[in-house]
Amino acid sequence: MSKHVEVKFHLQAEGLSLDTFGWSDLKEFLDRLLPALAAMEGGPTAANALPVRVEEGSAQPVLRVPQESLRAVYRFRAGPNRNWTLDQKIKAGRVYDYLEEKNARLECGARVLKDVQVPTGRPDWQIRQATTLTGDVRRTGGLKGRVEIGFDEFGHVHCDAGRGLAKELGKHLYERVAVTGVATKDAKTHALLTFKIQSYELLARAGFQAALGELHELLGDDMNEFDPEAFLAEIRS
């Protein structure tokens, strides 16, 4: 069985003490810290990083971690460099966000505590993923074949489609489509930054039938006694 060591995480912020650092604060902090540590190569995971106690001095959660994962903790402490993967940057970024939100400092170590280096002027990491999104075609055209789509989830975005696809989508102006392609999202806010459309599917007809089914499901038994003719006669008399 591997040896374990205790690592202290010393949070310092104005007004922060054991009296003000409640269970929900500890949970919020650990929920951000542990994924960041686990993302480092050989880092401790939620399963083997055991909470031991929270010490005095602002607030110092103490975790018991396998000794071989200590190097990963120190790599996290040293801050991002060019060898860090995107996943490591994103997960550590959530700890940095936490510290910035609380205007807090974090030190950590097994014996000697040293500052966790929070990079300044952090660039916004971007996520690229192949995905399908739904929305309405609002505008197409231009030399590069751009298509403006009002996405249900992300609002209006000018997408790259190429002239051929833009011309095709132009025939479906103001109609609902499902577009498949490559999206670039802001890792922090999840805002859709760019979208390259590779194919599309017209949703109009399926949309009407699906929405009609949804309407019937919503109204259900409430409309059992509804008499359309009598209703129309009443409302228009």
Binding site: R205, L218, L219, M223, F226, P228, L232, R236, S237
Partner: protein
């Protein structure tokens, strides 16, 4: 305008979409209203004028009205009765109610508003079950195709050509 033309659906048709089972004695109308889902979307885009939307929602229980409105807005393009539509109402209102009994005038006013929305938003057709719209359209001389849902759906393809294989 290129692409599909707007088809404005009247309250008399849209109201049948609220029920999932055919109301007794009104099966034919219910089935015909549901045929809106068969309309060729390359040819027609289904629309609901705001006066009709209001009337349809009056049939929905208050607790579910907001959600129903959201669903209807996904099924139809909603055509606002705005200032330009109001000008059309002004143009056709008197023609619409002329010769009608006082008791029927309120109903005709709503029909006039729905037709005004169709004209204002360059619709190609109006779809209804009662004959008031057609009367107004003909009387005013509007260039709008008018009829019940089946007059806008593609003709049924026969399953067999009368001979057994």
């Amino acid at each position: 305008m290129s692409g599909p033309q707007r088809l404005v659906v009247d309250t008399s048709v849209a109201t049948y979409l609220l029920v999932s089972e055919p109301p007794p004695g009104q099966e034919a109308k219910w089935e015909e209203a549901l045929e809106l889902s068969l309309i060729n979307t390359d040819e027609w885009r289904l629309c609901l004028a705001t006066p009709a939307l209001g009337e349809v929602l009056a049939g929905v229980p208050k607790s579910k009205r907001k959600q129903a409105a959201e669903i209807l807005c996904r099924m139809f393009e909603i055509l606002d009765l705005d200032k330009d539509a109001a000008i059309v109402v002004g143009d056709i209102a008197l023609e619409g109610i002329r010769g009608r009994k006082k008791a029927n005038r309120q109903a005709v006013k709503i029909d006039v508003e729905i037709i005004a929305c169709a004209v204002r938003w360059d619709a190609g057709g109006v779809c209804f079950f009662d004959g008031d719209h057609e009367r107004i359209i003909n009387r005013v001389g509007l260039d709008l195709q008018a009829g019940s849902p089946t007059s806008f759906t593609p003709p049924q393809q026969p399953l067999f050509n009368g001979r057994e294989e």
